[in-house]
Amino acid sequence: MTVIYHKAPITLQKLREIIFNNPSSIKQDFGILDSDLEIEDDQIDILGIDKLGAAVIIKIDKTADSDSFISAINQVLWLKKSSELINRLYVDKRIHFELRTQLIMISSSFSKKIILAAQQFHDIDIQYIEYTYLQNRNQDAIIFETIFQNKDKSSQKTIMEEDLKRKIILAQKQETSVQKPKIVISNNSRQPKIISLTAEEIAEFDNFDEELKKSRQFET
């Protein structure tokens, strides 16, 4: 049966949640070290490390333009400059700064200017991933599509349609039945993000009472 979806808007928060919960949909063998890492006048959305130990910066935007590109490049430069600090902060997983830093920008659209600009950077692996969010009455889905990467010297220009790397994440539409905890925000702290559960996650606990009952009968 063909499932019909319609293109729909998505909030940045939800997009980040999807990415955070499915890091392998963006990059294989990739571990998240930190999120919302505050740096000089900016913030790294996700800082990660790949299987070889190279640093991975993920920047998430609704639309990627020159400003977001400059901000992303600044983040990479800051990371290189702060290598000692970073390795002291994340002693569990040591980043090998001698390896090329990878910059992944995720957005719903990329301007031509920043695709051209990215082609001029040869010491940073830059990858642009375009997302498309889809919805129908019962489900939602997101498609991640790599539209540019400069990793291979042979592919210095935008990759062709047939080579596109497509990844689709299907998820049940979020229905939060858990009561949200009371949030008391102190004046000087940043508002914490409370990540809610998906209907699928809540459903994991559905048969808990039955399992308890069965075990009770077995015990008696």
Binding site: L33, Y90, K182, S189, E201, L212
Partner: protein, 300 residues
Amino acid sequence: MRTQKRLGKGLEDISSVFLGSSKSPDAEKPFQPVQKDNYRQIPSRRICIIGIDNQSYQDFYLIYYLANTLSQLGIRIAIVDLNDNLLMTKYLKQSRSIKVGSSQFSSNIFDNRIGVKFIAFDRNIYDNETNIPKNDQLITELIEIESKADLLLLHTDVPSFYTLIPKLKQSVRDFLITHPPEKNKLINSYKTIKNIYWNIPQAKIGMIVSSVNYFYEMDISYKKISHAVRKYLKRDIFKYGFLFRISEKNHSTELNSQDMDSNWVDCLSNIAQNIIFRLKSDQVGIPQDSFFKRMLSLQK
């Protein structure tokens, strides 16, 4: 004579410490107060205990006895009440075993007869943005306590935890979640775990199932949570143990472990052993920053 039990694989029973048996060598060893200038060179460890069953006295019992036991084993402990309404402090203060007023700041810092420090972290006093001026002496005392302590045992309920995330993010890596074997509490527990990992990817989370009536309740609860955490968050959680439900007749404000049910004591002993094991085995990833400096926004 009570038989010694082994609840954890390969771990010795130290429940005699909880029972205060005179035969226990550890219990006989008097607590050695730390010399005034004996400051630690390495940062103290911090374990944040999050009670899903909001403000349950069972959690207060757990923390109180855990701190006492670890203290008698030579670990220098400070308990920090991070709950918005400081209910744990109010509860513990009812006990005669706690010396109120040993500190210059008697309403916020106090200790018990074996030297466990209790800190009521009243955010109305410490918050930067409030109009109440910061008390420098109080801050100095907090930082001094931290510098001498081996372990800070923090306690918070879920609503307070969510407000504290930005500060805990920089200063705490070890979390322990306590919840009873009830479906909604399990979901809430899973949600808390998800939020910890979202904000603190390096976190290490352990689980204690409290208010257990039958052993299988703990087993099913742990399996459910760990399965969901593995499936959706691709992470593991550590099993620290469980606590039998404290019957109403044993629930007194005297905090006298002599009257406690021996099964409960065994459970607590097991949890203490797991904590010691974790503290000894996992030395990497400890935040170097001062916890109180972070909490007081003195360190950015």
